[in-house]
C-alpha cells in the first residue's frame, strides 16, 4: 500500500473515529481496515494509523504486538486457521494440523513459498460444538475431518489455478 492514504480511506477512518468519544478509541477498527487493505501492519501502516488518530506510533505498535490477529507481514492469499484448544483437540485437531502440514508443506505460522496459503493455529474459535473446527479466509468450517480438509484445499487450489497434489516443500515464514 502506498505510504499516503487515499482520500477515500482517510474519509473512512474519519467516519470510524467519529463514532467514538475520542479518536484513539478507533485504533482497533482502523488497524483492521489498514490490514485488510495492505495485508499487514508494517511501520507504514503504524504511522498512518497514528497520524490519522493523533497517536504516537509507538503506542500503535504496543497495541499491534499485543494482539494475535495483526500480522506484521503479509499472509498468503488464503489463511487457514485451526483451533487447537480443548474441545477441538479432543476431537482430533492435532491430526488436522498434521494433515495440513503434510499437504501444504509448512508449519503453523508459515506461508507456502508460492504465497498462496498461510497456516495458523488458534486458541478456541467459539465453535466448540462443531469440533474440530477451522476457518478458511474467515469462514467457519466444522466438524472437519481429513476428507473435508482435502476437499477445501482442492477447491482453493482450483481457485488459484494450481494443479492437484501437494504444495512445494519450501516454506516462507509468515
Amino acid at each position: 500500500m502506498s505510504p499516503v492514504l487515499s482520500a477515500e480511506v482517510r474519509e473512512e477512518i474519519r467516519a470510524i473515529a467519529s463514532r467514538y468519544p475520542r479518536g484513539e478509541a478507533a485504533l482497533l477498527p482502523v488497524l483492521h481496515l489498514l490490514q485488510r487493505l495492505s495485508g499487514a501492519i508494517t511501520p507504514v501502516e503504524e504511522r498512518q494509523a497514528a497520524e490519522a488518530l493523533g497517536l504516537d506510533p509507538i503506542r500503535v505498535r504496543e497495541v499491534v504486538t499485543f494482539h494475535t490477529m495483526f500480522r506484521t507481514r503479509r499472509a498468503g492469499t488464503h489463511v487457514i486457521e485451526v483451533c487447537i484448544n480443548l474441545s477441538c483437540t479432543m476431537a482430533g485437531s492435532e491430526a488436522l494440523v498434521a494433515r495440513l502440514r503434510e499437504v501444504l508443506g509448512i508449519d503453523p505460522g508459515e506461508t507456502t513459498a508460492d504465497g498462496k496459503f498461510t497456516l495458523v493455529t488458534a486458541e478456541c474459535l467459539g465453535n466448540c460444538d462443531r469440533a474440530p473446527c477451522l476457518t478458511v479466509d474467515g469462514e467457519d468450517h466444522g466438524p472437519v475431518d481429513a476428507a473435508a480438509i482435502d476437499g477445501v484445499l482442492a477447491a482453493l487450489r482450483r481457485e488459484e489455478g494450481l494443479g492437484e497434489g501437494t504444495a512445494s516443500r519450501e516454506r516462507g515464514k509468515s
Binding site: H67, T68, N127
Partner: protein, 423 residues
Amino acid sequence: MTTTSLRPLMDAAENLFRLDAYRRRGGYESARKALKMAPSDVMAEVRKAELRGRGGAGFPAGIKWGFIRRDGDKPVYLCVNADEGEPGTFKDRWLMTHEPHLLLEGIIITAHAVGAHSAFVYVRGEYEGAARRLEEAIAEAREAGFLGEKIFGKDFDLEVVIHRGAGAYICGEETALLESLEGKRGEPRLKPPFPSSIGLFGAPTVINNVETLCNVPRIIGEGGEAFAAAGRPGDGGTRLFGVSGAVRRPGLYELPIGTPLRELLYAHAGGPAEGTSIKAVIPGGLSAPILRPDEFDLPLECSVLAGAGTMIGSGAVIAVGSNTSMLEVLGVMTRFYDHESCGQCTPCRIGTSWMHKTAARLASGDGESRDFDELVRVAVSIKGRTFCPFGDAAALPVLALVGKFRAELEERASEAAARKRSC
C-alpha cells in the same frame, strides 16, 4: 425466549434473525414497554429477576447497574462484553448471529435503565460474521426508529457501535476491555476505582455480557419475579449451556439454573459419544476447575458450584472422554494461559509460562513425578496473588486437574518418557 426448547438449538432457519421475523416473535415490545417505565423501575425489575452475569463472574446485573453514578457531568456508557474467549464457550456467537435483535433490545432497555446514550459492543476479532450480522441488525433497527435519535418516539437517543477486538482473551476482563476500547493494550486496571464510577474515558460505565443483556427483554416482558422463579433463589432464570466434547449431541441447551449437570449431559446432550465414557467434566469453560463423575449430580447453579470448588463461569460444559489423555488436557490448559497472559504482573506472567513449560516437558517425556508437585506449587504461588482474576483462572484448573487425576497424569507422563527412551 421461553424455556421450551430442551434440544440442541440448530441453526435457525433462513432469516429468522431479521427484524421483521423478530418483530413477529414479539420482538421490541419489551423495549417499548421499558421506555415507558422509569429507569429505576426497570432496574428494580432486573433486581427482582436475580439475573446474574452470564459472562463468567456471575455478578447480579441489577445490583451492578445500581452502582452507576448518573449525576455527574460525564456521560454514562454501556459496554457489551462480546469478547467470548473462554474455551468451550459459543453461546454469545450464537446469540449475535441468530438473535442480534434480541441483544439490541436488551441493550436498549439497559441503556434506558442506566442512562447511557452510547453502547459499545466489544466483539472478539475472530467473530467477523457475528459482528457483520450485528451491523446489519443495527441498520434495520435504525431504520425502524429503534436506534438513533428519539427512539420509539421517546426523548431518548441511543447509538450502538460495534467494535471488533483483535485476538486477546484478556480483553474479556472488563477493565482490560475498557483499556482496549480506549485504544491501548488490553491490560486490566487497578480497582478501585470501579468502572461504575470511572470507566470508559473516565466516565461511569456498565459492562455486561451478551447473554446477560439478552435476558433483559424477557424480564421486562414477563416480569422479574417470573424470571427469578424459573431459576433458583439468588440465581434467576434460564441460561444457555454450551456442551462440547465427548457427548453425542454437542450444542446449546437453554435450561433452568439449577439443572443437574448429569441431566444436561445425559438427558439432553445424549450422554457419551460412541465408544467412549465421560471421565471428567469442566463445567463452566476452561477456567472452571474440573469435576469427577462422582460430582456430576451437582446442580448448575452459581453458588453451589462455587461452594464445590469450581464455578458456573460461562456455562460452557466440556465433557472429557475416556480416550482423552489428561496429560493432553493439562498441556492445552497451560498452553492457553501462557498464550493469553497479558504479562503485567509477576506471578501470572512468569507462572503461566512456567506451568506450560513444565507441562510440555512432561508431555515430551522429559518429566518426572515431582514435576507435578512443582506444577501444584507454582499454581499455589499464583493463586490469589495476581493483579486480576486471570491468575486464578490459570491456577485453579491446574490444581483441580492435578489434584483429582494425579494417577492418570503420572501414568501418561511415564508412557511419554518410555516412548522417548525407546526412540
